[in-house]
């Protein structure tokens, strides 16, 4: 697996740059990744979504479905896409050091 040095920490990542070692994640890493997914500078709203995803991940071992993200954070889907133009699932997942959400053709 490839590695990347983000915010001074060397991490294993997958081919799209999703961190594979969630235990090493820090908010500084998230801040750094936010630059590449078009969310920098991170606002309180961004962090609210990222933390909601991390909490859900802790409980269920997966990134929540989009509808669930909207419900938990209280943001409309349109707002979520404004906040995370890379996608409100994979954007905050990548920033939060979580695995890539499963796609659907």
């Amino acid at each position: 697996m490839p590695t990347a040095t983000i915010a001074g920490i060397e991490l294993e990542v997958d081919e799209e740059g999703f961190i594979l070692e969630p235990e090493k994640w820090t908010p500084e890493i998230g801040e750094e990744i936010s630059k590449e997914v078009g969310c920098w500078p991170m606002t309180e709203e961004h962090w609210k979504v990222v933390h909601a995803l991390r909490d859900y991940y802790k409980d269920y071992g997966m990134v929540p479905p989009l509808r669930q993200i909207s419900k938990v954070t209280g943001f409309e889907m349109k707002r979520l896409y404004e906040l995370f133009p890379y996608g409100p699932g994979k954007g905050p997942a990548k920033i939060g050091g979580l695995t890539k959400p499963a796609g659907c053709v």
Partner: protein, 394 residues
């Protein structure tokens, strides 16, 4: 030049058009198509697929329309290391002018493999094969210069498609083109920002011939129908008979509900028994027409393959008049999304959801009264046990 393609060459034999010839033509000038051909030849030799279902790819602001596809052997076939598909929303009824098609093709040759697939299962134009890097500039040009927008993909409403409807067909019971356009515009945001448990397809067929296969290929088929009687032109019937056409063998005996009879050269139909199979109307187009009071039947739950297997849609709304702005359909769709979105399991189509919870509970959740017309097939038992809906004393 391309390597030897002995296996694929077999697929060029015979009088039929061949996709291999098409890819070979592109391969002369395009490295992506060249490696596509090589990888495909290898697949036939090894009897193994070399595609890897990819990660999520996309363009800014959209959650749909791009499908990631990667080669499992990028070392051997670098041209198709990334081979993503772009889905473009089709216009109602698939009517294009040559200018827009040329623009689209030029842009696609510039950024992708130059290979197209028209049209995919959902009706979109599929542009097959480009790199992650090219997705954004390709989309920018397609949307700004050629005025195409992305279609649906992922767990959301998919591109809505329809038959040619009243544009070219005399049987259309409602304006399929307008309904498709109107719903597409209404649900733009939901199409481009998917947030449902799984895909949701709407297809509009103008009559029960169902030329877009809506009943099987969509979660919410809207199929044209009539609620009065089939229009009969007895003079035209006589013409058929006098012309030597065997109406009894070819029409009356083939009526699935046996609701037709011929007396003294006059054709009679017991419309109460008619199941709208369209056979007689198709065979006697000069003599028979759908009734005058036209609208549509809305069905629910169709899908093919995967998870629970194929499900044919069953009737949800037996008859509805369709007039702009089609608010009843929009309200119905939103209600389905709310209920199914809330209670479905991940990756559960609405048809599977109804199979799991039962149509009775689904109707209750939707606030729709059960109705004997809610059948899976014409002239068969309804899904619902009606006694549970009767209160004591009813």
């Amino acid at each position: 030049m391309v390597d030897k393609t002995e296996m694929l060459d077999e697929l060029e034999k015979g009088p039929w058009p061949s996709f291999v010839s098409q890819i070979k033509e592109q391969a002369e000038k395009n490295p992506i198509s060249r490696d596509l051909l090589r990888q495909l030849e290898q697949s036939y030799k090894d009897k193994k697929l070399y595609w890897r279902h990819g990660g999520v790819v996309g363009v800014w602001g959209y959650g749909s329309g791009m499908i990631g596809r990667y080669s499992a052997r990028p070392d051997l076939f670098p041209g198709v290391a990334e081979f993503h598909t772009v889905r473009l929303n089709n216009p109602s009824g698939w009517f294009y002018n040559t200018k827009s098609l040329r623009q689209m093709c030029d842009i696609w040759e510039k950024y992708g493999s130059g290979l197209l697939y028209m049209h995919g299962m959902t009706g979109d134009i599929l542009l097959l094969g480009t790199t992650t890097e090219n997705l954004q500039p390709c989309f920018d040009e397609l949307s700004s210069e050629a005025s195409f927008d992305l279609g649906g993909s992922g767990p959301g409403i998919r591109t809505i498609s329809c038959c040619v409807g009243p544009a070219r067909c005399e049987w259309a019971c409602y304006d399929t083109l307008d309904v498709t356009y109107d719903l597409t515009m209404t649900f733009q945001s939901e199409m481009h920002r998917p947030s449902l448990p799984h895909k949701f397809k709407i297809k509009c067929s103008g009559c029960p011939n169902d030329c877009v296969g809506a009943i099987l290929r969509s979660d919410l088929p809207i199929i044209g129908t009539w609620r009065d009687t089939i229009q009969i032109d007895q003079e035209a019937v006589s013409e058929y008979i006098n012309g030597g056409f065997d109406i009894v063998s070819y029409v009356i005996n083939r009526c699935p509900t046996q609701c037709m009879r011929l007396t003294e050269k006059e054709l009679g139909i017991n419309d109460r028994e008619c199941s709208r199979c369209m056979h007689c109307i198709n065979v006697l187009p000069k003599a028979l027409r759908p009734g005058k009071e036209r609208g549509a039947t809305i069905l629910i739950g169709g899908k093919t393959q995967l998870v629970e297997g194929t499900i044919i849609s069953s009737v949800l709304i037996p008859f509805i008049k369709l007039t702009p702005p089609y608010q009843e359909i929009k309200d119905l769709v939103n209600k389905i999304w709310d209920f199914w979105g809330e209670y479905a399991r991940g990756r559960e189509r609405v048809g599977e959801f109804i199979q799991r919870i039962g149509l009775g509970d689904f109707l209750e959740g939707m606030g729709i009264e059960p109705n004997p017309y809610m059948v899976a097939h014409p002239r068969e038992n309804p899904h619902i046990k009606f006694e549970e809906y009767y209160r004591e004393g009813d």
